[in-house]
Amino acid sequence: MELQAIYVQVLALAIFAIGLIVAISRRNVFFVLMGVELALNAVNLSFVGFAKTLPADMSVAGQIVPLFSIAIAAAEACVGLAMVILIFRNRESVDADTYSNMKG
């Protein structure tokens, strides 16, 4: 029994599924942001896991792209939290169901 590449992908899939459930079904807006972060983490893990299945020079790209992905996640968290602060100041609630003033 050695560590197989498929185990890493199954772990990434499980974490992605949990992140998706958290982002869609929780009502607190902070949990929505945390679910997005969890799903992004799982995608990074999948990148690295697939990069290790490629031969020598081809395995570099999959280990560079997660760095960019992490930086994009930092920018996303920054703007997302600023928007949460802005909406919270108007609505005085962290329940995402009350943020429905743009609903048609």
Partner: protein
């Protein structure tokens, strides 16, 4: 064999703390379990022989992003309407849908013939820096992406400051000055 044992331990911690994020009531407990999940994922990166990504994960994700999230949760006192239910009726449809999606993708994934290649390069600091800052004309050109990323982070920082500050001269800022 030892790698598999470490992987199982770290994977169980990662999935367990992800479940804690799903089931915890207070956002601060959720944020702390998310930090634990990210730290164990950093350990898995080290196990997969890309230690630089693991270190970046610890510093940027578990350090900077989660610090920002925890700070905002504590400033906004995000738990003060903890009487609203955690889930609603939409979850009854969302959870089975996501589970079915996971089952389908997992079925395809398990049947695919992938295996670790022993010649895959170790993602050390040397390899990462040489690839990222390879400015040769025939190189991969990641340094342009790196520059663009600097602009993106600068603009997102400016956008966050502009969004979250109180308007100058508004009632809120006048009250803040009076206090």
């Amino acid at each position: 064999m030892l790698a598999l044992i470490y992987f199982i331990i770290l994977g169980v911690i990662a999935i367990g703390s992800a479940f804690c994020v799903l089931l915890s009531r207070h956002p601060l407990y959720g944020a702390l379990s998310l930090v634990l999940s990210m730290l164990s994922l950093a350990g898995i990166y080290g196990l997969l022989a890309s230690p630089f990504i693991g270190v970046v994960q610890v510093m940027v994700y578990a350090g900077a992003i989660m610090m920002l999230l925890t700070f905002v949760i504590m400033v906004l006192n995000g738990a003060r309407d903890s009487k609203t239910p955690m889930f609603d009726r939409v979850s009854l449809f969302v959870v089975p849908a996501v589970l079915v999606l996971t089952g389908l993708v997992g079925f395809v994934l398990v049947r695919s013939p992938i295996a670790f290649d022993s010649t895959a390069l170790r993602g050390s600091v040397k390899l990462t820096s040489e690839t990222l800052f390879n400015v040769a004309q025939t190189g991969p050109g990641y340094f342009i992406l790196f520059e663009v990323l600097g602009l993106l982070l600068l603009s997102s920082m400016a956008a966050a400051v502009l969004l979250a500050k109180k308007r100058l001269g508004s009632v809120d800022s006048d009250n803040a000055e009076d206090k």
